[in-house]
Symmetry: C2
Subunit: 404 residues, 2 copies
């Protein structure tokens, strides 16, 4: 008689954004006349840039003719894309990363969920609190997190590193030593980040205690300040302790196009075992490459035209971020983030819980955001708004919030 | 100090097709003047059908405008595709499968590697021998397979069901009771299949012993005989014991486009726990949907024009299959498969091992095939040729083989 993976039964509730979607759908059904503005999930709204559209049309045409048709892609990604990544995201920043350390994938969510597979189930993970739910949930499914305490909303075997206004949203080294440390900067959900010097301290710590850092750099394109690292490999020693996850979703609007990549340096080892070889084996066995058309779209992100168009797109969203930030401050809210990231993290007013504020905002302003507590216990009393709406909707939402 | 998933260290050698690619590359480098014909890996060569190309261009254009732009897809796939699948692949065949039992993915390789995750690591798997390597390797990585014996090339905790000419390539019920049974019909690698009545017996067996069947129907479109089931859900009782994996790679040439789906019926349960809900949770946590453009391509597979064009494409490959089969018989080989599947499985001549014949064919005829032993110990002494080349190359390869 077959048995299931019992770890799944430990997962409380459903995935955060599914819960929000259901609540919003119920509200809309009960109030069909209300114009809801969605600043909740981090989904982009601007169309794909012209240079990328052109590249995709060209790739589609190639698939239409036997001479240019492409079947299975190389397991780890086409050279044209891996080389463009190396040149632009690493070499241009002085990071010595080579093409065979780049693993092209169907997106950073898949990679951030799957990366834990190559590690022992005995490893203990550390996460910032609040945190992107996938890091924790994928480790729950793998049986690494111990038991769940519904009162504290924490797992017995997870090390939580609170990032709140009290510590300036900079995680402190934990008292207990972790084996795997998930870091995401600029941060989702808080929209805050840490300096390159602070990131260097984390790299030094990881090398000292023998931990691996899973570094999620999905929001790198939104960095506006000089002392913030765009890649963890800007830090000395990162290649012996860090894996970096990158997304095309936010810098190029690929949430519905699906493309990402993971960097596993060849110097990253456990004893004699190369993690680069392990991840290559995982890719080769359980994945069959990102679509050719999508990899050509990714290549166009790095073309001169693509770069110029995407710079404008990022600026568009960051104008929204400033609009939200300034509007909220004007309305008397305490606000964080929004300078190096497209997320604004606000303190809920009047001691409201995060979900109370979610309901309040949905009902009174018909604006959807994300409850901070959905990202972890230290997110309680906070709320996330995203800058990924249209400028018009963003302004309208802020007018509604200011009028509350 | 972090530790790795030790199960990866148990995996012998590299992924079969990587090994072949390296051998072929080495031969080509040493013999730059030789025209190698590749009938090894099951990669298609015909261009994408016009109706699908048109749908992709249209979808690319939609992504270029804010009003029609699509961000994150629904976790489990767009309704337009799930509904088309239900209508064409199930309802039209009298199978009662609903859209919420369909999970759209980036391909059947990912699904066939990932599906084991929702099951207990204590489950014992049964596989046909020879077998598509992903079923076994993904279970090795998960720690379900025990220890590897390099002499017999088998795992201590895997139940092997030999399929050879002695039993007509029909697996027999194993002596020990398995928890999870991987079945693939029409079969990769042997190109043979079983009748609907024989499949019904497997469904009855699984329901009786409480096993789950992972049914890989990737080659369904190549079925030419009436008494062969296109879906396991044509068998009575399959919804309480079977998960079905489907690919668009072979019926529509999507090996480089990437699209597949998995059916997990709501009636499939372990005690009170719904496997449909578990797989939905896995999808929602570790996957972010197939690209919008690719899902529109999938929809076009089911359009009237798409169906007509793909019928021709399948016929083209099956003409190759007949060419290979007849040519090999003429050359004195003992040959199986090729009637309901695009694979031809031949007995190696003169007691050659599979790899000896691989080297012989590569060196003497400059033709690449796949050694049967790469698919499992009972594949020793067999060799696979695929019908996915161009007609011209297929004829040329057979002329060379006949001239040996």
């Amino acid at each position: 008689m077959f048995q299931i993976n019992d770890n799944y039964q430990k997962l409380p509730g459903s995935y955060l954004f599914s819960t929000i979607a259901k609540k919003v759908a119920a509200f809309q059904e009960a109030n069909p006349d209300k114009q809801i503005i969605r600043l909740g999930i981090g989904d982009v709204t601007q169309p794909i840039a012209p240079a990328i559209i052109e590249a995709m049309h060209k790739a589609v045409d190639e698939m239409a003719h036997a001479e240019t048709f492409r079947g299975y892609a190389p397991d780890l990604g086409y050279d044209f894309l891996r080389n463009a990544i190396v040149e632009n995201d690493y070499k241009a920043r002085g990071c010595e990363i080579t093409a065979d350390e780049i693993f092209v994938s169907d997106g950073a969510k898949s990679d951030s969920g799957n990366i834990q597979e190559i590690f022992s189930e005995k490893n203990r993970i550390a996460v910032c609190d609040p945190v992107y739910p996938v890091y924790v949930d994928s480790n729950v499914m793998a049986g690494r997190t111990g038991t769940y305490d519904p009162t504290s909303e924490t797992w017995s075997n997870v090390i939580y590193m609170p990032t709140t206004k009290e510590n300036g949203f900079v995680p402190e080294f934990p008292k207990e030593t972790p084996d795997m440390i998930y870091l995401c900067f600029p941060n989702n959900p808080t929209g805050t980040t840490i300096t390159k010097a602070q990131l260097q301290a984390w790299v030094d710590y990881a090398n000292k205690v023998g931990a691996v850092i899973i570094y999620d750099a999905a929001y790198e394109a939104y960095i506006s300040e000089d002392d913030v690292a765009h890649s963890i490999y800007e830090c000395e020693g990162a290649k012996t302790c860090a894996i970096e996850l990158k997304s095309f979703s936010k810098n190029a609007g690929f949430t519905g196009v699906r493309l990402g990549y993971t960097v596993v340096p060849k110097e990253l080892k456990c004893g004699d075992v190369s993690l680069n070889a392990m991840w290559a084996r995982r890719h080769g066995t359980k994945f069959n490459g990102a679509p050719y058309i999508v990899q050509r779209a990714g290549e166009a992100v790095y073309s001169e035209a693509g770069k110029a168009q995407l710079k404008e797109q990022v600026a568009y969203y960051m104008k929204n971020a400033a609009t939200i930030k300034n509007g909220l401050v004007e309305a008397g809210f305490e606000v964080f983030g929004g300078v190096n990231a497209p997320y604004i993290w606000l303190k809920t007013p009047d001691q409201m819980t995060s979900w109370e504020f979610f309901d309040y905002l949905l009902e009174k302003a018909n604006v959807v955001g994300t409850p901070g507590s959905g990202f972890g216990p230290s997110g309680e009393g906070y709320f996330r708004l995203t800058a990924f709406g249209s400028y018009e909707n963003t302004c309208a939402a802020l007018e509604r919030i200011k009028a509350l």
